[in-house]
């Protein structure tokens, strides 16, 4: 049985982002989404550390040490980009001006709850970064993650077991097996499944009921 690669997942997310959106991409697969948005489809990338209009990673000999993304990797700036301070940057996020945020997650619940920052209640020094601001503030929150943990436990669940990042924030989930919407009052609604997999197979790897529109 096949599954989407990380690249395919990133490309699939990129397909759904229309021109003109202001988008914040989290660390990991979300960052890769930028590589799959064609340059002539203008999507304006935001970074927590005070940047709008990030472009692709520079060639190794063209690195600008003053220009890093939220994951502290070197980036470039597109014409039309701008710099501002951290409170202004999070004002954009918290004020609902970011059209889309794409994050990784440990778990997403069928009511849209997301857990992506702490791996246990006893983890007393977890690193939250900007995740709670983004989850609470962006107009839309999409999650990209594997459908299950490495040892096969579902990451789409009825109720999150890990400490929450935000309540009811997730609208859509892109996994290595499917694209699934989180519909208020209904739960998980399957939009696409990786070729060769049945809904029943997908359900078996999912910790909550999967709905379909058909």
């Amino acid at each position: 049985m096949s599954s989407f690669t990380r690249q395919q997942m990133a490309a699939r997310v990129a397909d759904d982002i229309p021109e003109g959106w202001f988008v914040n991409l989290g660390i990991g697969i979300p960052t890769m989404v930028a590589d799959y948005v064609p340059m002539d489809r203008e999507v304006i990338l935001h970074s927590e550390n005070g940047i709008l209009g990030m472009g692709p990673a520079p060639a190794p000999d063209k690195v600008n040490a003053w220009l890093v993304n939220a994951g502290k990797q070197p980036v470039t700036l597109r014409p039309g980009g701008s710099f501002f301070h951290h409170a202004d940057s999070f004002g954009m996020i918290r004020g609902g001006h970011i059209d889309l945020c794409v994050l990784g997650a440990f778990e997403v619940a069928e009511n849209g709850d997301i857990a992506n920052w702490a791996t246990s209640e006893n983890d007393s020094a977890p690193a939250v970064g900007g995740a709670m601001d983004l989850a609470a503030g962006a107009k839309r929150l999409w999650v990209v993650m594997d459908h299950t943990t490495k040892d096969g436990r579902p990451k789409l669940v009825e109720t999150c077991g890990y400490p929450l990042t935000a309540h009811g924030a997730v609208q859509r989930i892109y996994t290595n097996l499917a694209v699934i919407d989180v519909v208020r009052g209904r739960g998980f609604v399957v939009r696409e499944i990786v070729p060769g997999m049945s809904l029943a197979d997908l359900q078996a790897k999912t910790g909550a009921v999967l709905h379909t529109d058909s």
């Binding site: 039309g80 701008s82 004020g95």
Partner: protein
């Protein structure tokens, strides 16, 4: 290609609905989007709540809009000033609602709306007439009051330069209320003296990033008062 530049004032103001809250930039004549305000008169929206530092002067712009009966309520810090006769007549006649807000609280309430803060505490106006009906609480042994975010449906601002992504700069004292109003509104319309090619406004010196701006229209007029 993103292109927020529109070709006419009418296009810039299309779709503004009756009952809207309209934020109007400027401090006195400086940084005031005169042509957009005149355009709003043409556009026809009524039953408006207008947020501005002053309540208009003479019989043009905001004063004219009020005189036409299109403004239901004014939220401002300084309604009475030289030439504010239209305001005074309407207000005395009970035809205009007024909310007086200290100037700093006015700016901060809009900044809060733009930054996702529904309410904040401030010592400004604590224990005064303007604190009536507001929640009070002491911090560090000092009285404060709770002020609410003030979002707009529309902001009309005047920029010096703009590009097709909606990035703006302002000139000198023309900045004033414009950036916070741009943050606070759902639809921000900027009139600008100059249009620049994308990338020609230095990224370190963009005053209002395009994320806060939906429409740009060039009005190559002269200095304020001209």
């Amino acid at each position: 290609m993103i292109n927020k530049i529109v070709q006419s004032i009418a296009e810039a103001l299309s779709g503004i609905k009756d009952g809207s809250t309209v934020l109007m930039g400027g401090f006195g004549a400086v940084g005031q989007p005169d042509e957009l305000i005149e355009g709003l008169i043409e556009q026809g929206a009524k039953d408006l709540t207008v947020v501005a530092n002053n309540a208009g002067a003479g019989r043009v712009g905001l004063a004219k809009l009020m005189e036409m009966g299109r403004v239901r309520k004014i939220i401002c810090s300084f309604p009475r000033s030289a030439g504010s006769t239209v305001f005074e007549e309407l207000y005395r006649a009970g035809k205009l609602e007024l909310e007086i807000v200290p100037q700093g609280t006015l700016a901060e309430r809009m900044r809060a709306a733009g930054a996702g803060i529904p309410a904040f505490f401030t010592p400004t106006a604590a224990g005064t007439k303007l604190a009536q009906g507001k929640e009070a609480r002491d911090f560090n042994g000092r009285p404060h009051i709770l002020e609410l975010a003030l979002p707009g449906d529309v902001a009309l601002v005047e920029a010096w330069e703009a590009d097709r992504w909606g990035n703006l700069t302002y000139r000198e004292g023309g900045r004033n209320f414009n950036p916070v109003m741009a943050m606070a509104a759902t639809l921000t319309v900027a009139q600008t003296h100059h249009i620049r090619e994308l990338g020609d406004i230095a990224p370190d010196n963009v005053h209002t990033p395009g994320i806060y701006v939906q429409r740009v229209v060039q009005v190559a007029r002269g200095a304020p008062w001209n």
